[in-house]
Amino acid sequence: MATVTSKSAYDRLGGDGAPAYPDGTPMTLEDAPLVRGNLSFHDVTEMVAYHTEKKTPFGWYLAFGAALTALGILGLSVAYLVWNGPGVWGLTNPVFWGWAIVNFVWWVGIGHAGTLISAVLFLFRQRWRTSINRAAEAMTLFAVACALLFPTFHVGRVWVIYYTLPLPNQMAMWPQFKSPLLWDVFAVSIYGTVSLLFWYVGLIPDLATIRDRAVRAGRTLRAKILGFFALGWTGSNRHWRHYERAYLILAGLATPLVLSVHSVVSFDFAVSLIPGWHTTIFPPYFVAGAIFSGFAMVQTLLLVARKVYNLENLITLDHIEKMNIIILVTGTVVGFAYITEFFIAWYSGVEYEQYAFMNRATGPYWWAYWIMMSCNLIFPQLFWKKSWRRTIWLSMAISITTNIGMWFERFVITVTSLHRDFLPSSWDYYSATVWDLGMYIGSFGLFFTLFLLFLRFVPMVAIAEVKGVMPQADPHFYHGHGDGHALPHELAAYQHDANVQAAGPAASDADADGIPDADDSNA
C-alpha cells in the first residue's frame, strides 16, 4: 500500500464512517475491512511497536503513580489482614463469605474474556479478534492474579497456603480432593498457567519484531533483553508451521478450560446445600456471566486505549459493535437465568428455596438485587439499536454498568443466601468494613499497575496476527500470483483502492509498497 496516514484515511475507505462497496452500497459487518485506513504492513508495525519504544510520556507516569498508590493500599490492607485475621473483614455469623468471595468471583469472571476472545473466537474463525486479543489476554492474566489474592488471604493462615497443594508433608495428610474448593485451586491456577502460555506463544513473533527494531535502532541492551524473550524467532515458515499448529491446539485446549473454570467456581456454591446456591443452573449461568463481564471490561479498557494510542484503525467501530452484540446476548442470557431461578424456586415447591429468592428481591438487600437486574438485564437491551451499538460514550457507559451489575450479582448470590440461614435467631445484616474496601481498591491497583506496565513494554496489539488478516497478506491479492486461483471478490475492492493510490503523485511504486510495478496497471 502506498503510505496513507490514518487521519487522511478517515475521509476515504471506511474510516469511522460506514465502509462501502465500490458501487456505494454500505458494507455488511461481515464484509467490512478489519483494518482501516489502508495501512501498509510497516504502518501496522510502526503504530504498535512505537508505543513500546518511545520515551515514557508524563501521562503514563501519572497513571502509573495512581495505580501504585492503590497498590500501596493493597499492601496495607493485606498487612493489616494478615496481622489480625479475616475478622477485620466484617465477616461474622452467619455470613462468612463476604466481599472477598464476591471480588474473587468477579475478577475471575472478568478474566474469562481474554481466553474466550483468543481461543473460542479463533476456533470460530472470527478474524476480527486479532486486534483485541493481545490486550484481552493480558487483562485475563492480571484479572486472574487479582482474583487469586482473595481466596489466598481468605484462608487466614496464608503462610500454610501450600496445604492446598498435594505436597507430601510431616502430617502425612493430603488435600481433600472431593471438595469443590480444591477443584477451584486447580482450575484457577491451571487456567492462569495456560493463559500465560497462550499469551506468551502469541507474543513470540511480536517480541521478535520489536527486537529487530531495537537492533536497527542500536539499542543493544533492549535488543538483548527482547532477544532473550523472543527465543531467536525469525519468522521461518518451517517454524510457522509448528507454531500455528501449537496455537490451534492451545486454542482447542483453552476453550473447554475457560468453560470449566467458571463452572468449577460455581460448584463452590452449587455443591453446597444452601437455598439459593444449590441449583444446577449455576455452571452455564456463571459462564455466561463471566463472558458478559469480561467483554465489558475489555470494552472499557480498549475504548480508552484505542483513543489514547490512536489505534482507531486497528480497533475499529466494527470491533466495538461486535463486542456490544456479545454483551447484549450474554447479558440477556444472564437475565434469563435470573428469571429461571425464580421460576424454579417457585416450581420446586420448597419453602426455603422460595423464601431465599423472595428475600433477594424484597428483603434487606433488595437494592443490590435491583441494581443487578437493571445493570445486567435492562441496560444492555439498548444495544438492540445499531446506531447505539456504535456510539462510543454509550458503549463505555454500559461496559461500566455491566461490571457494576456483575459485582452486585455475586454480592446477591453470596450474601443474600447466607445472611438468613436455617436458624432465624442467627439472622444478621452483613456489612463490609473499610478493610474490605481497601482490599478491593487495592486489587484495582494491582490490576492497573500490571496493565500499565503491559501497555508500556509489550506490543498491545498482536502485530503478526493483524498483518495476517489484512487483504494484502493473501498471496491471491497480487494479480495472478499465488496458486493460480482467481482473485476472490472480497479482495477486489482493496486492490482497486490500492491501485488508485499507487497512481497518486508521490506514491509511485519504487517505495516497496507491496505492489510490484508489473502489477500496477495504473502506475
Binding site: 487521519k7 510497516h42 510520556p57 525469525t234 490512536n310
Partner: protein
C-alpha cells in the same frame, strides 16, 4: 554413532548458511518457492512477518506432528490426575513401606462410609490436569520441533533480515542443498524476481552479483523510535 550425532548437530548449525533473497510480496514469495522447487531445490525456507496462506503446500511440508505429541501429554495428564486422587484418598497401605516415607502413602478417610474414591468427584481435577499437561506439551513440543530457543543464527548477520519480522519477505536456499551453487542459485533467484540477494554465512552477509556491483543495500525502513504521523502518543 558419535559422528552421526556430530553430523546432525553441524548440519543444524549450518542450515541457515546460504543465499538469502528478498521478494516484494507474499504472492511473489509463493511463486518463487514453487519455481525453486521445480528447479530441484529442496532445502528452502521462507521468512515472513506472518504465516503465508498456502506456503506449506508450496514448500511441500506435511502437517505438523505436534498433535500426536500433545495427545501423549493429554493421556499422561489424565492418568496422573486419576492416579493422584486415587492414591491419596484410597491408595493401598503396605507393610513393607519404610516409615520414613509414610508421607508419600495415601491417607484414606472414611466419611459416612462413602466410597474412598469416586470417579464423579474426580472428574474436575482429571480434566484440569489433562489440559495442563497438554498445554505444556504443546508449547514445549512446538519449541522443540522448531529448535527454539536459538540465540545465534547466521541470518542475523544480514542487516536487511531484520525486516523479516516487519514487512519483508525472504527466501533462503541452504548451501547444504544438493543443487546449491552460489552463482547459479543466485541467477535462479534473480530470474524469479528477487529484489536483493545476499550470501550469508557465519562470518557475515554480503550482497551477491548485480546487487554487489550496484551497492544496492536495501535500506531498512524505520528502526528508530520516531513518532509516526498518525499518533500523538500521550500515554
Amino acid at each position: 554413532m558419535l559422528s552421526k550425532i556430530r553430523q546432525t548437530v553441524e548440519d543444524r548449525g549450518n542450515q541457515h548458511v546460504g543465499l538469502l533473497a528478498e521478494f516484494s510480496d507474499p504472492g511473489a514469495l509463493v511463486e518463487a518457492v514453487e519455481g525453486l522447487r521445480e528447479k530441484g531445490y529442496t532445502r528452502l525456507d521462507t521468512f515472513t512477518p506472518f504465516p503465508i496462506h498456502g506456503m506449506d503446500r508450496a514448500m511441500g511440508l506435511p502437517v505438523s506432528k505436534l498433535g500426536f505429541m500433545v495427545f501423549g501429554g493429554a493421556v499422561l495428564g489424565g492418568i496422573l490426575g486419576a492416579f493422584l486422587q486415587w492414591w491419596t484418598s484410597a491408595g493401598p497401605q503396605f507393610n513393607w513401606w519404610p516409615s520414613e516415607l509414610n508421607q508419600f502413602l495415601g491417607y484414606p478417610i472414611n466419611i459416612s462410609n462413602k466410597p474412598l474414591f469416586a470417579w464423579e468427584s474426580s472428574i474436575p481435577i482429571i480434566f484440569e490436569l489433562t489440559i495442563l499437561f497438554s498445554a505444556l506439551t504443546a508449547v514445549g513440543g512446538m519449541l522443540a520441533l522448531n529448535g527454539l530457543p536459538k540465540p545465534y543464527n547466521p541470518l542475523f548477520h544480514s542487516d536487511r533480515f531484520g525486516r523479516a519480522t516487519d514487512d519483508a519477505f525472504f527466501v533462503h536456499v541452504s548451501s547444504r542443498d544438493a543443487a546449491f551453487d552460489r552463482a547459479t542459485t543466485a541467477a535462479d533467484l534473480r530470474g524469479l524476481g528477487a529484489t536483493g540477494i545476499e550470501y550469508v554465512d557465519h562470518d557475515g552477509a554480503s550482497l551477491v552479483g548485480d546487487d554487489a556491483e550496484a551497492g544496492t543495500a536495501v535500506v531498512p525502513a524505520g528502526g528508530a523510535a520516531v513518532a509516526p504521523h498518525h499518533t500523538t502518543g500521550d500515554l
